[in-house]
Amino acid sequence: MPKPGSRDGQAFRMSRRKMMKGVAAVLGALVLPEKDASASVWEAFFQKNFRELSRPELEKVIARLEKEYSGRFGKAVKVRATPPIEGVLYGYGLDLSRCIGCRRCAYGCIQENNQSRDPQIQWIQVLQLNKERGVDLEEAELYYNPAKVPEKGHFYMPVQCQQCERPPCVKVCPVQATWKERDGITVVDYNWCIGCRYCMAACPYGARHFNWKKAGLPAAEMNPETHYLGNRPRPVGVVEKCTFCIQRVRNTPGRYTACVEVCPVGARKFGNLLDPESEIRYVIENKRVFILKEDLNTRPKFYYFYAT
């Protein structure tokens, strides 16, 4: 038996092999998650793009997510992947002559769509504008805070995702983690997004928001009715945006979006652009309508109008 630490060839080879085994074991223990979680992390890592998932694969993904979220929030969380309704193209109307800038839409949206409270993410930004200047975005004030609104001489313009027909955010995504669905809603696959934020730079409406940190979402306030492409909890490092409450509107019958329902002045209108009887068609056909930054040719399906 050679003495410990002797430098003859045999002993050296043995100790090197042992050392490599030890290093591998330590690295493995560091890299691999705990035994229970490893399977789901493994699956999440190798999950395909949402649009390439077969039905059984999608069911597996959804079961995994529901289990994960239910455990995390301590209640039964439902994740749906309801497809678009045939013959529906969603359109949105916002009456600038009615909006009083009370911001109830912005907070109603947060509750419905499970945004992070801290750090704060808001999908709707309400701009205060000067009546004499009109829609002059350079003059817009986002942080107005008087005791009462509306303030004299001002009007208010909430801005959120305009669900463009030609969305620049989709065009720039290097991994196709965001796309426009057949019903006109631009969605994000949070499991495919790499967090490069090109889409945020491309969006002319500031409608996309990034999860810099783990979402601060109290379990009691978490809305358990979710959609894979919509309001399910988002991981760190992905981009999110308004989806016209995809978890609500893709049903028959489907509820109005949260912002429509919470608006105290009824300034917000929503419906099917392909249905001649819809409210949104009435707005487009009978009211003075404009779209934001029309010159960019993004062709929004979000119509600002003046009812009076």
Binding site: A106, V249, P253, G254
Partner: protein, 188 residues
Amino acid sequence: MNMERARRAIVPAAAAAILCLAAAGVLAAHPQEAPAGTAGAASTHVPHGPQFAVPKPPFSPGIFPCSDCHKEIRPNPTRRELKDEHTDIVLNHAQGQRWCLDCHDTTNRDKLRLASGERIPHEESYRLCGQCHGDKYRDWKAGVHGKRSGMWNGEKQYLLCVHCHNPHDPAFKPLQPMPPPVRPENIK
């Protein structure tokens, strides 16, 4: 011969059926128009159920039915300022041109009164408002003036005009805004 007679009978019957269907279609397309047209001619009450799903009118607590008190009181149709009762109501709605009994019925206080003389329940007060505010009424029926909730492709919940506008003082009152967003430099 029998065949011929049968055919002669069928043709007018079919024509009548088609006409009926067409008429029904027109009525169904504009359910609110049909009775409104007849309302002017009929001073008596035309059976006229609510056509829009609306919640209960927002009465002040304990005030309705009005007849609880008014059945004891002889109606006084003289235009005047009320000094004894309802002093909390300050009319700020074309006050120089009208008073209580232009909208509230003189003899049946539980009803409202249209210019035509037709009495309508408070659940249909939008018809009363629509007499002057026809453009708003038109937009409201289409779901564009005022708030709708419920299903975008199913059952919709309307609100009465008076759920947002106090009929005696209809201007929409300013609200306290929700807090402004956190400035990016303050997001940690």
